[in-house]
């Protein structure tokens, strides 16, 4: 069976203008299939985070063409992009960015309430199920600020998953975690990709993390030097 192409980058290029004009990304082309766990690696300054933010639709200032699940993303209105992110993309960052005034459960519910696909009761049940899957059912009603770093990162993952997104994007998703929690988060992501057929694109500088993923795209000075890095 032909694998479904979820994400396609075609000759993506980008300039930084400050302090002087500088080409950070140079004709980047690759594609990611459904259910793949792809990591983006490269030295600091290689452009990997810049690329991720373009792929995430938040950065719209680039050349080339980006397609997500066959839909042309390049040149879309901000409003459409926001709706698309809400529905199709889940984010996990190095920092959890939870809303400290809200309980874990409500933090997880926010993107689903925004989407409005389910009733409030259904959303609550789904959020609770996601927390349970990540082993946080006991923390559901606590304020997110009261949790440990590892737990907070798992709540953030639950929030990224609540709308069953097509793609989960991570920017150093384990960057702030100790090795035990890193292991837990990695296993969760891997399970999501292989078991639930969700696509994962994550930037990392952790070689172990990258090594264990399905595929690693390596960048150097704004160029892809390998789309299938071997260790």
């Amino acid at each position: 069976m032909q694998p479904e192409i979820i994400l396609q980058a075609d000759k993506i290029g980008k300039y930084f203008y400050d302090p002087e004009k500088f080409r950070v990304l140079n004709d980047i082309s690759f594609q990611v299939n459904r259910g793949e766990f792809v990591t983006l690696v490269g030295k600091s300054g290689s452009g990997k985070s810049t690329l991720l933010y373009i792929l995430s639709t938040m950065d719209t200032d680039y050349d080339g063409l980006l397609t997500i699940q066959g839909e042309r993303i390049t040149g879309q209105q901000q409003q459409r992009l926001a709706a698309l992110r809400n529905e199709k993309i889940g984010f996990v960052f190095q920092f959890h960015y939870l809303l400290p005034e809200f309980s874990c459960l409500r933090n997880v519910m926010i993107p689903a309430l925004r989407l409005g696909k389910y009733s409030r009761k259904e959303i609550e049940e789904r959020a609770y199920a996601k927390l349970k899957m990540l082993g946080l059912e006991d923390q559901a009603l606590k304020l997110s600020a009261k949790l440990s770093g590892g737990q907070q990162q798992r709540v953030a993952i639950a929030r990224a998953l609540i709308n069953d997104p097509l793609i989960i994007m991570g920017d150093e998703p384990t960057g702030n975690l100790d090795s035990k929690n890193t292991g837990i988060v990695f296993d969760i992501l891997k399970d999501l990709a292989h078991h639930d057929q969700q696509t994962i694109v994550a930037v990392t500088h952790d070689n172990d993390f990258a090594q264990k993923s399905d595929r690693t795209i390596e960048l150097q000075d704004g160029q892809v030097i390998s789309t299938r890095k071997l260790y």
Binding site: D59, Q78, A82, N86, E101, P111, R159
Partner: protein
């Protein structure tokens, strides 16, 4: 596609932000409370003052006075046809021009107008009150006393005798207390008066009045309109002025034009007759509006500051919300709603606060002919206070919210 259920997540977030930072919210709301309370209070006070001062004007002046203005003869009458000569005369006031011709008809016409409440004829006479060798100059106002009382509330000022007595006595006279004391007369005594037409009449004092204006008390008297006609040596239908009161005295200038057009005589409204007083009142209103609005504006800055602070604190959360698909207008809604909730609470307490202040101040006795402090609950001022309060809080929320909506999430995540 998405959107089959509508969840008000934006309000949920703004309400949570408010309930978790109660102290800041309370301080911002208190600012609005004080601003609104002072705004409504000061404006109600100004409205009370102007109503009081209007009322004191209307003790002497009708809303509209209809009279025949002096007419000056044209100095040049051009030749009417060839062969005749143009006529040149010195310009002068035409005699007999001061009377209203066929006053009954004019009066009936005025009374037919829907906005006219009272229309009553008047004949003013300049007189001397004679007492032995002393003569005091004054004005006798010839009126239909029952109608004049309705218009000028004369009975409120009567200290001796009654209105009814004047009606019953053809040569009766109500005199100001100042006139009475100078002439050393009391109710029941007779007074001799001489008019500017050199007619002398003996009048009977049937009552005395005391107004807030001592000059009026020292010169004015009310007599029956027929006595005034006799003093002026005029016919029994003679009328010099018609005083008109209308339903809404604020619209008197518009009506006066209409009445002037209708009757063909000059109709002068009270605002034109008392321009200085009206201008002073307008100045007072502007001043109070200006001061109270600035106080409200300061309250708005309180909300603005607190929202700005909140937004700076929560910039990361705003970034993640935008990453998760919240649109610029969602972010604006979150923070504008927060401002409006704070403002709403502030406005409600402000209304309570100023109502309390008005309640107590309206029970303060200040004396004179003012009596109790002239302040009442003014629905218009309440409405304006609420409206301006909402406008100020909206903008105090909108400007920081717009800033928040323009946050570029990428720049936050890359820090």
């Amino acid at each position: 596609m998405a959107g089959t259920h509508r969840h008000n997540i934006d309000s949920e977030i703004s309400i949570t932000y408010i309930t978790t930072s109660r102290k800041l919210t309370a301080v911002a709301a208190l600012g609005v409370t004080i601003g609104i309370a002072i705004y409504i209070f000061m404006n109600s006070m100004a409205a009370g003052f102007s109503r009081k001062s209007d009322a004191s004007i209307f003790k002497n002046v009708p809303h509209i006075r209809v009279y025949k203005d002096d007419e000056i003869s044209t100095p040049l009458s051009p030749a009417t046809h060839s062969g005749s000569l143009p006529l040149i005369v010195n310009p002068r006031v035409i005699p007999e021009s001061q009377k209203i011709i066929n006053p009954d008809q004019v009066l009936a016409l005025l009374k037919q107008q829907p906005e006219v409440v009272i229309a009553t004829p008047q004949v003013g006479v300049d007189v001397f009150y004679n007492s032995g060798r002393t003569q005091i100059a004054g004005v006798a106002s010839g009126v239909e006393i029952a109608e004049a009382d309705k218009m000028f509330s004369i009975s409120e000022t009567i200290v001796e005798g009654s209105i009814q007595a004047l009606k019953n006595t053809p040569n009766g006279m109500l005199v100001g207390v100042g006139v009475a004391s100078k002439m050393s007369v009391k109710t029941g005594d007779n007074i001799t008066i001489t008019s500017s037409r050199n007619v002398t009449k003996v009048m009977k004092v049937v009552g005395m009045f005391k107004t807030s204006n001592s000059n009026t008390d020292k010169t004015k008297s009310y007599i029956n309109i027929n006595s005034a006609r006799q003093l002026k040596q005029e016919s029994p239908s003679y009328v010099s002025d018609i005083d008109v009161n209308v339903k809404d005295y604020d619209h008197a200038p518009a009506y006066s034009q209409q009445l002037s057009f209708l009757t063909g005589y000059k109709a002068e409204d009270w605002k034109a007759a008392n321009e200085t007083l009206v201008a002073a009142g307008r100045m007072r209103t502007i001043m109070i509006n200006f001061i109270s609005l600035s106080i409200l504006l300061v309250a708005g800055f309180g909300i603005y500051n607190i929202l700005n602070m909140t937004i700076n604190q929560k910039i990361n959360e705003i970034a993640i919300l935008k990453a998760m698909g919240f649109q610029g207008r969602d972010v604006v809604r979150i923070f504008v709603q927060q401002a409006m909730l704070i403002g709403g609470v502030g406005i409600i307490f402000g209304l309570l606060c100023c109502s309390t202040m008005i309640f107590f101040l309206s029970r303060v006795y200040v004396g004179g002919d003012i009596g109790y402090f002239p302040i009442t609950y003014e629905p218009e001022m309440y409405a304006r206070g609420i409206l301006f309060g909402l406008i100020v809080t909206f903008f105090a929320g909108y400007f920081p919210a717009r800033k928040a909506a323009n946050v570029d999430p990428v720049s936050i995540f890359r820090k």
